[in-house]
């Protein structure tokens, strides 16, 4: 069973009834219902599906587009807001770091057309490089932070965010998490309401942040937060559920449902916003209870602010600052706090069946690139994308990975340190290169570094599920647009050594890579082969291993291709290798490495399909 390819148009679903939606689908729906005219984003788990869903709404209703990075995305949204329409941008938590420069000043400028940022955190680091709590960023930028707890609230809060943004003249953040974004729950949808276009707001003292203007705006920022906090004292956004006066729980977001799961009858104050806070409401709640516990995932954002008011609350002495909260962890923390009786350790049987880390796909072009890199004994500054998986066994070909676009400048720094005896290589994907790899490349040339950049051009933004980017020449909605010519662009940066090689051609890859590191100065090798998963699944006829020729040397196993596994036969105590025909896409890279020639195209015995089919697109 596999799902049907085309879903019905999202505008066709019935209003006034509930539909199962993920948090991300609900946010996209909210944007459409709120009449958002411009939405711009750069993909990043767990936020990606918001924009992918927006791309399914009618072109005439919303301009939905992939931006080159999160700062560009926010700046595009800001521009639309300047021009008086509702605008939205969405990103994963670390994307906010990239966008933050614009955000810090836009906070002073405010919002003419409603301006909303959806920021999706990743507690538990399911697929990210860190576990930062973006709510702290919201406070830092002095913008309101709404915290939905499920898909329904994700929809409602996103719409309310536009209202707050316009009434208080401020950008607003809606903060989701992996769990909210990727959980389906019932959502009541309604009709779309389109606000009037306001037109450009001619107000230089507000729109142009020079020191004199900024000094005028800072008090406005403080004032609007105070006014909003005042409104929140009586707002429906906070939910007060009074129970016993012994213990009161203050919470927000997903933590709320974990509290309810364990203490359905407890006295709870669920805050709709973690910033600003309704001080009087919280003071009253604390006064009504003998003991107050703040339950938050990650950082003690709410707890610490309450403590600064001199109120006595508990929280992080029982609840972890690290990792994703869960119903069972919440239970354990309540047990430690003496709120719940310890429950007997009631778990099912425990097994440790195997380790199953994520791997590069069968036939992934990155596998060959890193095999060549590995054979050269070089220092490798890595970057972020599918190819980061080459850090693990068996490729083990990456020495550092920091943040998107870091590789090239990290390599420059390693070169300048002067301590490195090995050649220095930076590896970076096409989407990451466009995101933030170009300024460091210009820097490397400008400062005369001696490094090799390997641009892993798989013609897609693969890690996040296959999004178009300027290198693919297609838009979010699949329309043709200008396609970047990487060679021209790299040459314009001042690079003189540029070669493009087919990633599946093992000999050329090895040889050209050797030449690239021998070159003194900045050299760029473009490893060129499309991703086998997106935008189209590539599957050619499989290869197979002739067991009588395989001497089980394990050379092919060094590629880490998941189609290559051990058979039940042995040779001198080593496992003979076999190929899973359903997984193998027939890239032939393993065959190019096999010293005994044991790997050959599968012989097709069926006469009808006996004609050799070339490896192609399925």
């Amino acid at each position: 069973m596999s799902s049907k390819a085309e879903q019905a148009s999202p505008t066709a679903i019935k209003t006034g009834i509930t539909h199962q939606m993920t948090g991300n689908e609900a946010i996209a729906r909210a944007a459409w219902e709120a009449g958002v005219k411009v939405a711009s984003a750069y993909p990043g788990t767990p936020s990606t599906e918001i924009m992918e869903n927006m791309g399914r709404y009618p072109v005439g209703d919303v301009h939905a587009q992939w931006a080159t990075n999160e700062k560009v995305a926010l700046d595009v949204a800001i521009g639309a807001s300047f021009s008086g329409v509702r605008a939205m941008t969405m990103m994963k938590h670390v994307g906010l770091n990239v966008a933050s420069d614009a955000l810090m000043s836009q906070s002073y400028i405010g919002a003419h057309g409603g301006l909303v940022l959806i920021v999706c955190d990743d507690p538990g680091i399911h697929s990210s490089q860190n576990e930062q709590d973006s709510r702290i960023f919201g406070r830092f930028a002095q913008i309101p932070v709404l915290e939905p707890c499920d898909a329904q609230e994700a929809l409602d809060y996103t719409k309310i965010a536009f209202d707050i943004s316009e009434r208080y003249d401020t950008p607003v953040m809606v903060r989701s998490t992996t769990r909210i974004s990727h959980t389906r729950s019932p959502v009541l949808v309604s009709e779309r309401v389109t606000p009037d276009d306001l037109g450009f707001n001619m107000d230089v003292s507000k729109n142009v942040m020079v020191p004199g203007h900024a000094r005028q705006r800072h008090p406005v920022v403080i004032d609007r937060l105070e006014r909003l906090a005042e409104e929140l004292e009586t707002s429906d956004l906070n939910r007060l559920e009074l129970g016993s006066s012994k213990i009161g729980i203050i919470t927000s977001s997903m933590s709320y449902v974990y509290v309810k799961e364990n203490l359905p009858e407890a006295s709870v104050l669920k805050l709709g916003l973690s910033f600003p806070l309704p001080k009087k409401l919280i003071q009253d709640f604390c006064a009504k209870h003998d003991r107050v516990i703040v339950v938050e995932e990650l950082e003690p954002v709410i707890e610490n602010e309450i403590k600064t008011w001199g109120l006595k609350v508990e929280g992080k002495e029982f609840f972890p600052r690290i990792g994703e909260l869960s119903p069972e962890q919440t239970r354990i923390s309540f047990e430690q706090a003496g709120v719940l009786e310890p429950e007997a350790n009631a778990l099912g049987p425990q097994f440790e069946p195997l380790i199953r880390p994520p791997v590069l796909c069968a036939g992934c072009p990155h596998a060959m690139s890193y095999t060549a890199i590995r054979s050269l004994d070089v220092r490798v500054a890595g970057d972020i994308g599918c190819y980061t998986l080459a850090v693990g066994d068996p490729l083990t070909a990456i020495d550092t990975t920091v943040a998107m676009g870091s590789s090239i400048a990290n390599a420059t720094g390693m070169y300048l340190a002067g301590t490195e005896t090995k050649p220095i290589v930076a590896t970076i994907g096409d989407s990451t290169f466009i995101h933030s790899g170009i300024p460091p490349l210009i820097d490397a040339v400008y400062n005369q570094a001696n490094i090799t950049v390997i641009l892993l051009d798989n013609h897609i933004t693969a890690m996040t599920g296959g999004q178009e980017n300027p290198g693919t020449g297609k838009t979010l909605r699949g329309e043709q647009t200008h396609q970047i010519n990487f060679e021209e662009m790299i040459r314009a940066c001042g690079v003189e050594w540029i070669e493009r090689v087919d990633s599946y051609d093992a000999a050329s890859m090895m040889q050209t890579m050797r030449e690239s590191i021998a070159y003194r100065g900045v050299s760029v090798l473009i490893a060129d082969r499309p991703c086998v998963l997106d935008p189209v699944k590539i599957k050619g006829p499989s290869m197979s291993v002739d067991a009588k020729d395989c001497n089980a040397c394990q050379g092919c196993m060094n590629l880490g291709c998941p189609a290559l596994i051990w058979s039940d036969e042995w040779y001198e105590g080593r496992h003979i290798v076999k190929i899973d025909p359903t997984a193998c896409i027939g890239c032939s890279v393993c065959a190019q490495f096999c010293p005994t020639g044991a790997i050959q195209p599968t012989v097709v015995l069926d006469q009808k399909s006996a004609k050799a089919k070339p490896c192609g697109v399925e």
Partner: protein
């Protein structure tokens, strides 16, 4: 108490009086955990279940983390339904049913099952990750669970191990294995069969409706049949091969005078245990890594390397 069927290794343990879970009769939601490997259709199973619950008027929450799903990683989906559901994830030890599309993944999530009553239904299909084939020790074991249905038998209330993938393949579509498991799941709940079939027909590609409905019945019959003690179709569980202990070991010898330092062996050694020393002569730098695979011996143009077998007795 669990009655154990020993005749067919693929049926593990059946309860004498199996419960039918009915969300109308419990205050707490019913919890179904569906697990497998990327690409197997875990999310489809949970979508079908969620849609049925929704059609029947229950609140349902369905939570999954699928960031690495496409890269062969672990995929799991929590489905909780009832009159009122708070947490979208199932608390550990509270899953009423665990459906596994892959054998070892079923074992991995076993601790989520409710002790004493949780029902385990697993496809015996194995998806061996490349990581399981990493050891280079001679006679090395595969890094995949050796646990068999027998090892699981005593530890769960009711458990079924069936070769769903094989059964679906025989029915004409390997990808329908997850529908077969839906049929198996349906026996644990009170939902009407027509409701399941309606939703499945709606969710699968039109051309595959017939085969999907057929394997759904097979899944249902398989569980019902085993509960009644009737013989059920399905291959017996095939244990993994045992390591070959009686292996030949080779020691490597390099005739330094014949080596011209061409670097071929160094570059081609799968274990990367050879180097060119300061005299530009090949040297076995990390003898403990050498598997004796002969590659350097065969590739050396000057016959400078030879591998000599030593017998087991000599090793001992």
């Amino acid at each position: 108490m669990a009655k154990v069927k020993k005749t067919d290794n693929s049926v593990m343990a059946v309860l004498a009086d199996p419960p039918k879970l009915d969300p109308k009769e419990t205050k707490e939601p019913i919890n179904v955990l569906i697990v497998g490997v990327g690409g197997q259709g875990v999310i489809m199973v949970s979508k079908v279940l969620a849609l049925i619950c929704q059609n029947l008027g229950y609140e349902v929450k369905q939570s999954e983390v699928h960031g690495m799903a496409k890269r062969g990683g672990v995929v799991f989906s929590h489905v909780r339904f009832g009159s009122n559901v708070w947490s979208p994830t199932i608390p550990m030890g509270k899953a009423d049913v665990l459906i596994a599309l892959e054998w070892a993944e079923g074992l991995r999530w076993m601790s989520y099952l409710r002790p004493g009553t949780g029902i385990f239904i697993a496809d015996t299909k194995r998806i061996v990750p490349p990581f399981a084939c990493r050891s280079r020790i001679l006679g090395a074991d595969i890094g995949y669970s050796k646990d068999t249905p027998d090892d699981v038998r005593e530890k769960v209330a009711e458990a079924f191990a069936l070769d769903a993938t094989e059964m679906a393949t025989r029915a004409g579509n390997e990808r329908a294995a997850n529908t077969l498991l839906l049929g198996a799941l349906s026996t644990t709940l009170t939902f009407p069969t027509e409701e399941w079939k309606k939703v499945i027909a709606q969710m699968v590609p039109p051309k595959t409706v017939d085969v999907n409905l057929a394997v759904f019945d097979q899944g249902q019959n398989w569980i019902d049949g085993s509960r009644k003690g009737e013989p059920v179709e399905g291959a017996a569980f095939v244990p993994l091969v045992q390591p070959e202990l009686n292996s030949v070991r080779n020691t490597l010898e390099i005739t330094a005078e014949w080596c011209k330092g061409c670097d071929i062996c160094v570059k081609m050694c799968p274990e990367r245990c050879l180097v060119l020393n300061k005299d530009q002569v090949a040297e076995l730098a990390e003898p403990e890594k050498c598997t004796g695979c002969h590659i350097c011996e065969w590739l050396c143009p000057d016959f400078a390397i030879s591998l000599n077998p030593i017998t087991q007795e000599a090793v001992a």
